[in-house]
């Protein structure tokens, strides 16, 4: 679908929301400006990825990790992002840990209770698990990709 990497856009609605929250009330944004910012964000990710990858290669690693990205931010002169990013990373790690424990707990509960009894409940839980499974599948995807 996308012909060039820069054409991989991030969702417009999300970009618009981020912009609106960054600006004072009553300020609008033209479609062209919004679309340009969206594109700029894609370019930013591509550039950051490339910088981060250099750090990974320097460390003789094949997998980009969080600290590579943080180093990239400094390299790109976005040092002011580093602190909020570190905080976000810690929160993310806590959430991931919580998710794992929660899904393991759910699986334990499921085994204990009857399927018939929990059919309705587990439909919702299944959705959650599907989402987590998706993440795990994505992780597996990463391991299989060999560029």
């Amino acid at each position: 679908m996308a012909e060039r990497p820069e054409d991989l856009n991030l969702p417009n609605a999300v970009i618009t929301r981020i912009i609106k929250e960054a600006l004072p009330d009553g300020v609008n944004i033209s479609k062209e400006a919004r679309s340009a910012i969206s594109r700029a964000a894609s370019v930013f990710v591509l550039y950051a990825t490339s910088c981060a990858n250099n750090f990974a290669m320097k460390g003789k690693r094949k997998t980009l990790n969080a600290s590579d990205v943080l180093s990239a931010m400094e390299e790109m002169e976005f040092q002011r992002f580093v602190t909020p990013l570190k905080e976000a990373l810690e929160a993310y790690r806590r959430e991931q840990k919580g998710k794992k424990e929660a899904s393991e707990q759910k699986k334990k509960d499921k085994d204990k209770k009857t399927d018939a009894e929990e059919q309705d409940k587990s439909r919702d839980e299944d959705n959650d698990e599907d989402e987590e499974r998706l993440e795990e599948e994505e992780q597996n995807e990463e391991e299989e990709v060999d560029n």
Partner: protein, 115 residues
């Protein structure tokens, strides 16, 4: 509420407001500061994979890139707004963005990429 028809991200269906076009599978909005990232990690990952030199990227790296992109959007929007303010306008235009890119060193990497 429509049940998810086999899609992997049923939370998209749960958006009550008219802005249902925003896929936010990773965004817990329960508490301030608990909002981790609004940009969908899958799309960010697609961008990362587009780089031929990148072999693998860990989940944390993708997450931080997403969050960094958000910060970037906030930053550039604010900088562009400063230009619009000088023009006494209340709508951000494309030219405000171009001015910001020219004026701010950190945005130099964007030159020539937005056309």
């Amino acid at each position: 509420m429509a049940a998810a028809a086999g899609s992997g991200t049923p939370r998209e269906e749960e958006g009550p407001s008219g802005e249902a076009a925003a896929p936010q599978p990773q965004a817990p909005t329960s508490a301030p500061g608990a909002r981790l990232s609004r940009l969908p990690l899958a799309r960010v990952k697609a961008l990362v994979k587009a780089d031929p030199d990148v072999t693998l990227a860990g989940q944390e790296a993708i997450f931080i890139l997403a969050r960094a992109a958000e910060l970037f959007v906030e930053t550039i929007a604010k900088d562009a707004y400063c230009c619009a303010q000088q023009g006494k306008r209340k709508t951000l235009q494309r030219r405000d963005l171009d001015n910001a890119i020219e004026a701010v060193d950190e945005f130099a990497f964007l030159e020539g990429t937005l056309d």
